[in-house]
C-alpha cells in the first residue's frame, strides 16, 4: 500500500511509531497529485514548497514526542476557504489572483494541530452548483468514470480523496455541497450542524446555511477532523458555545436499541432502481447490526428545493456585492469610467453564468414589491421544514435516505438547464435549511460492467441527525463501515492506465 492511500488513523499510528515521516507522506501525496491531476483537474493550486516546510516542522514536533492526531497529516482544502499566502480563487475569474492576508479559522485550527496543507481544490464557482462544471477553471472529472461529474460543489475535494491525492480534504456544504460529491465519488462526507464550526474565512455564499466539513476515506477519519475544526471562535458569533463531543470515542458503541427513521418522501418512484436496491441492502445490514427502523413522514420535503433557491440566491446577491472591482479581485477600472461602470463591467466580466443567475434571482426576490411573495414566504416555509424535521428527530435517533436519486451523471448532461441542476439537491437541501448534521457514506456500486471494464458508479447513503447530534450519525456510519467494505474500494483510474507503474515512484 502506498502512503497516500492510508487513512488518517493508519498514518497517525505510523507517524507516532516512527515508521514513516510527515515528509514521506506529503511527498507521496504530491507525487500522486502530479500523476493524476492533469486528467482529473481536482487541484487548482498545489503549494509543494510550503507543504514540505510544514511537513518538516511536523516531523520536528513528532520527534519531540508530540502525539496530536492530525500532526503531520497532509490534506487539501476547497478553494473557497481562505489560506494565508496561498491563492484562493473560489473557482472564479473575479478572484483568479486573490491571495488572502489571513487564514480561515478552520485552516488556522488545522495548522495548530499540525496538519499539512498540500493545496486547494476545484469547485463550482463560489460553490454554486452540484457538478463542479461551473468552475471558471474547467470541470473536475469523476475518478470512477472520467466522462462523468464528481458532483458538487466540493467536487475537487471529493475526487482528490477518492483518488488518494491526500489523506483528507475540507469542503463546504450550503445545500449538499459536501454530501453530493461524497456520494458521487464514493467517499465519506460530513456536513456538521450549523453553528458547530466557524465560517470565518469561508468565501461567503449563504451565510445562514454555509458550514465547513471534512471529506475522508472513513467515518472514523471524519470524526477525527470534525473534532479539531469544531468549537467557538471570536470571529464568528454564530458558532454555538457548546462542548465538542468525543466523536471518535462515541462511535465505538454498537447500534442495539437505536431507532432510525425512513422518511417516505425520500423513497419515491423518481429514484434510480439500482440506488434503491443498494439503500435497501444497507438498511438490511444495519438491522443485522441491531438498529430498528420505523417509517416517518416529512410532508414539506418537496418544498426544500424551491425554498433553497430563494434563500440562497438572496443571500448570494448580498454576499457577492463585495466583489465590486474596488477592494480586491478582477477590476475594469482604466479610462474614464465612473464608479457605477467600474462595478458593472468588473462584475459583468468577472462572474460566470451561474453566479450571475443567482445574483439576479436574489436581487429580484429581495426587490421592492416581490420581497413578501418570494423571500418572506420562503423563510416561512423554511420554518415548517425545520420544525417538521426537529419533531421527527425527537421520535427517532436519526434518519436514513439516499444522498442522491442516482449515481454521477455525464459531464455536460445538465448544463443547459439550470433548473435540472437545481433538482439535483432534492435529498440534501432540507437538512441544510434546518441546520442539521448529515453525512454521506458509500453504500455500494451501481451498474458494474460485467466484463470488468469498470467497477460501477458509487452510490451514497445519507444519515441526518438531530441538532448537534454528530455523534449519532458518526456512530451509525462507523458501525456500518466496520461491517461492509464499500468504503475500501478505490477507483482504478484505468484511463490513466499507468497508475501502478507511476505511483511506485512515490
Amino acid at each position: 500500500m502506498k502512503l497516500n492511500q492510508l487513512t488518517i488513523k493508519e498514518a497517525a499510528e505510523k507517524l507516532v511509531n516512527g515508521e514513516i515521516t510527515s515528509v514521506d507522506l506529503a511527498k507521496a501525496c504530491l507525487a500522486r497529485i502530479e500523476e493524476v491531476n492533469k486528467e482529473l483537474n481536482a487541484c487548482l493550486t498545489v503549494c509543494e514548497e510550503e507543504a514540505l516546510v510544514e511537513a518538516s516542522r511536523a516531523d520536528e514536533r513528532l520527534a519531540k514526542g508530540e502525539t496530536a492526531v492530525l500532526l503531520g497529516i497532509p490534506y487539501l482544502a476547497k478553494d473557497n476557504i481562505l489560506t494565508k499566502g496561498v491563492r484562493t480563487t473560489a473557482s472564479s475569474k473575479i478572484l483568479e489572483n486573490y491571495i488572502a492576508p489571513y487564514d480561515a479559522t478552520v485552516i488556522a485550527k488545522l495548522r495548530m494541530a499540525g496538519a499539512v496543507l498540500l493545496g486547494k481544490t476545484n469547485l463550482d464557482e463560489f460553490a454554486h452548483g452540484a457538478s463542479t462544471e461551473n468552475s471558471a477553471f474547467g470541470p473536475t472529472k469523476n475518478p470512477w468514470d472520467l466522462s462523468r461529474v464528481p458532483g458538487g460543489s466540493s467536487g475537487g475535494s471529493a475526487a482528490a480523496v477518492a483518488a488518494d491525492m491526500c489523506l483528507f480534504a475540507l469542503g463546504t456544504d450550503t445545500g449538499g455541497s459536501i454530501r453530493c460529491p461524497a456520494s458521487f465519488c464514493g467517499v465519506t462526507g460530513l456536513k456538521p450542524t450549523y453553528g458547530r464550526a466557524s465560517r470565518y474565512g469561508l468565501v461567503a455564499m449563504t451565510s445562514s446555511t454555509d458550514v465547513p466539513g471534512p471529506l475522508t476515506k472513513t467515518v472514523l477519519d471524519a470524526a477525527i477532523v470534525q473534532a479539531i475544526i469544531s468549537g467557538p471562535d471570536r470571529f464568528d458569533s454564530t458558532v454555538v458555545n457548546r462542548e465538542v463531543d468525543d466523536y471518535a470515542g462515541e462511535l465505538k458503541e454498537n447500534l442495539f436499541g437505536l431507532k432510525i427513521g425512513l422518511p417516505e418522501e425520500f423513497f419515491t418512484a423518481g429514484t434510480d432502481q439500482a440506488v434503491s436496491e443498494l439503500i435497501q441492502a444497507a438498511i438490511a445490514k444495519l438491522k443485522e447490526l441491531g438498529a430498528e427502523f420505523v417509517k416517518v413522514s416529512l410532508p414539506h420535503t418537496k418544498y426544500g428545493v424551491p425554498v433553497y433557491y430563494i434563500v440562497t440566491p438572496s443571500e448570494v446577491s448580498s454576499n457577492l456585492a463585495r466583489h465590486d472591482g474596488i477592494h480586491f479581485g478582477y477590476s475594469v477600472n482604466g479610462g474614464n469610467h465612473d464608479i457605477k461602470s467600474v462595478y458593472e463591467k468588473s462584475r459583468g466580466q468577472g462572474f460566470g453564468p451561474e453566479a450571475k443567475r443567482r445574483i439576479m434571482l436574489g436581487t429580484y426576490a429581495l426587490s421592492a414589491g416581490y420581497f413578501d411573495a418570494y423571500y418572506l414566504r420562503a423563510q416561512k416555509v423554511r420554518t415548517k421544514i425545520k420544525n417538521e424535521l426537529d419533531e421527527v428527530l425527537k421520535k427517532v435517533d436519526c434518519l436514513l435516505t439516499p444522498t442522491s436519486p442516482h449515481p454521477a451523471f455525464k459531464i455536460g448532461e445538465k448544463m443547459a438547464d439550470p433548473l435540472q441542476m437545481y433538482l439535483e439537491d432534492i435529498f440534501v437541501t432540507s437538512p441544510s435549511l434546518a441546520g442539521l448534521p448529515a453525512i454521506s457514506l458509500p453504500a455500494g456500486f451501481a451498474y458494474p460492467d460485467p466484463s470488468g471494464g469498470t467497477e460501477g458508479l458509487p452510490v451514497g447513503l445519507q444519515l441526518i441527525g438531530p441538532r448537534f447530534g454528530e455523534s449519532i450519525i458518526l456512530r451509525v456510519g462507523h458501525q456500518y463501515q466496520k461491517a461492509t467494505d464499500h468504503h475500501l474500494s478505490r477507483p482504478k483510474l484505468r484511463a490513466l492506465n499507468n497508475y501502478e507503474t507511476l505511483s511506485s515512484r512515490a
Binding site: I99, P101, S208, T238, Y309, I326, N333, I339, R382
Partner: protein, 97 residues
C-alpha cells in the same frame, strides 16, 4: 412568472451587472422558468408562521469592543489586493458628478 426584457434590465441594473443582449435574453428565459417552479411555494399555508432567518436560536452575542492590532505584514498583504492605491489608501472613482 414571465419576466419582460425591461424587468430583466432593471434587475441587472440593481445588481450592478453589465450584461450583453444575448445574456439578457438567456437569463430572462431561465429566470422565468425558475420562478415558475418556485411558485409552488404559494400553495403552502403559512398563516401565523414566523419566518426563519437563522437556526441557532442565538440572540445578541456580545463581546468587548476592543481594538486589535493588525500586523503590518497583514495590512500590506490586504492593501496589495486593491486594484488602485494612492498614499496607501484604496482609490475609488468619482462618486459625485
Amino acid at each position: 412568472m414571465k419576466l419582460s426584457r425591461e424587468e430583466i434590465k432593471h434587475i441587472a441594473d440593481l445588481a450592478r451587472l453589465e450584461l450583453t443582449a444575448e445574456e439578457l435574453t438567456k437569463y430572462g428565459e431561465q429566470l422565468s422558468a425558475i420562478l415558475s417552479y418556485i411558485d409552488q411555494l404559494q400553495e403552502v399555508d403559512v398563516a401565523g408562521v414566523e419566518p426563519t432567518a437563522q437556526v441557532t436560536g442565538l440572540v445578541n452575542v456580545w463581546r468587548e469592543d476592543e481594538p486589535r492590532d493588525c500586523p503590518e505584514a497583514e495590512r500590506e498583504a490586504a492593501l496589495k489586493e486593491a486594484p488602485e492605491l494612492e498614499d496607501r489608501q484604496v482609490k475609488v472613482k468619482r462618486v459625485l458628478e
